[in-house]
């Protein structure tokens, strides 16, 4: 077995990034009542003749 030591750096309080601010604003802005459907199979995404 190998023993490793981790030296842990202190994380100073930081300002949220622009991406985080954007996410927070979107999350507070409300939603609709339906959602965009995403699938790994792009052919399934728009229309299925019979489900």
């Amino acid at each position: 077995m190998i023993k490793g030591n981790f030296k842990i750096k202190e994380i100073k309080e930081r300002e949220p990034t622009d991406q985080e601010k954007f996410e927070q604003l979107i999350a507070r802005s409300g939603v609709g009542s339906h959602m965009v459907f995403r699938s790994k199979n792009k052919d399934d995404e728009l229309f299925l003749d019979e489900l």
Binding site: I2, G4, F6, E10, G32, S33, M35
Partner: protein
């Protein structure tokens, strides 16, 4: 440094870690940089992806149980009712068009309903539920426009109000109404009581071809009685306008689809505090968040003002309309070889590759059926 922390791993694990670090391009970088990449918060997502994820999570949190409950309550009526598949033309002859009618601000601004009502257009009319009473009152009526459909996608009980207007009862017998299997039953009964013939569709939201999903369970349950081949299932794009556009080419097989009143944006003069949304935590109606710096770059990205070069005008969007328009524009682009999409709103935010813009007057001159 805060503290020292030690752990024991075997030699093989250490070697595997070194290999993966190397493979990820971190061979010459510190272990700290690699751990940050693996477990840190440095993942950069596109704004479109961020919005889609937040909306998906919020909507499922608010509506998922309602959808399952409504589906259960609708089941007898689905089994004993009509599939939207019946609306697919048996023969697809010469090219024909549809007009999808939303209720965006351009509809009134350009008096489009009056223009359409006095035209001799013989194509298909697909009316979004929210626009229906005004459309009928303006004279765009199914006794004149024989191929007349109305669509509901939103799963809110208040959608019933659009069907309870007395003018809906006057023309209901001539209107074909397309409803999702997860619509609140009160909406179904209100449309049916107005005399409309109901056609059921599935709305896709979690379908996985090889895994368990509610869409898959719905499919199995619906097929258990009468609908052996199931129902058509559509992408909604999260709103009834986009869903109506999908229905136009996928089910009704229209080769050209024009949009009016599908702005996916507000007039620039509309105050933010007049705009209402659904709170993702409580499901209640909320207004614009008050303590937001409207001059910040983040606000301008989330609530952009869009210049439409095709109609030389501006619209402003909430994140909801950014979400809707991103999806609709993407879907139009993806299907541009299959269906011609014409934006005849003369405003709004729907423009770009695959979208032809023209006035409604010009569309009506060019497309008679």
């Amino acid at each position: 440094m805060l503290d020292n922390f030690s752990l024991e791993i075997n030699e093989n694990t250490l070697q595997n870690m070194k290999n993966v670090k190397e493979e990820m391009g971190f061979g010459s970088k510190s272990w700290s940089d690699w751990f940050e990449a693996l477990f840190g918060n440095s993942t950069k997502q596109s704004e479109k992806d961020i919005i889609e994820k937040i909306f998906r999570d919020g909507i499922l949190k608010v509506f998922y149980e309602d959808w399952v409950r409504y589906f259960a309550l609708n089941l007898e009526n689905i089994w004993n009712g009509h599939s939207a598949k019946k609306l697919i033309p048996k023969k697809i002859g010469k090219a024909h068009s549809a007009i999808v009618i939303g209720r965006g601000p351009s509809l009134q601004r350009h008096d489009h309903l009056k223009l359409l009502a006095t035209s001799n257009y013989k194509g298909t009319i697909i009316c979004t539920d929210g626009a229906l009473p005004e459309v009928l009152k303006a004279g765009v009526i199914p006794t004149k426009f024989k191929k007349f459909y109305v669509v509901t996608i939103d799963t809110l009980e208040r959608q019933k109000d659009f069907y309870s207007d007395p003018i809906c009862k006057k023309y209901g017998n001539y209107i074909k109404c397309i409803l999702p299997t997860i619509v609140p039953p009160v909406v179904y009964f209100t449309a049916k009581n107005a005399g409309m013939k109901i056609y059921w569709i599935h709305t896709l939201f979690d379908y996985k071809r090889d895994d368990v999903s509610f869409n898959q369970i719905e499919n199995i349950v619906v097929k258990a009685k009468n609908h052996k081949n199931g129902l058509p299932a559509i992408q909604t794009g999260a709103n009834v306008g986009t869903a109506s556009w999908i229905i136009a080419w996928s089910i009704l097989k229209c080769s050209t689809v024009a949009l009016i009143g599908i702005d996916h944006g507000y007039d620039v003069q509309t105050p933010w505090n007049k705009i209402k949304q659904i709170d993702p935590d409580t499901g209640r109606i909320i207004t614009f968040p008050k303590d937001v710096d409207q001059n910040s770059d983040v606000f301008k990205k989330a609530y952009p003002t869009i210049y439409n070069p095709d109609f030389d005008c501006y619209s402003k969007q909430t994140p909801t309309f950014v979400y809707y328009s991103n999806a609709l524009k993407e879907f139009i682009f993806r299907t541009r070889k299959r269906v011609k999409t014409i934006n005849a709103t003369e405003g709004g935010t729907i423009f770009g590759e695959g979208i032809e813009s023209m006035t409604l007057k010009k569309f009506l001159e060019k497309y008679k059926f």
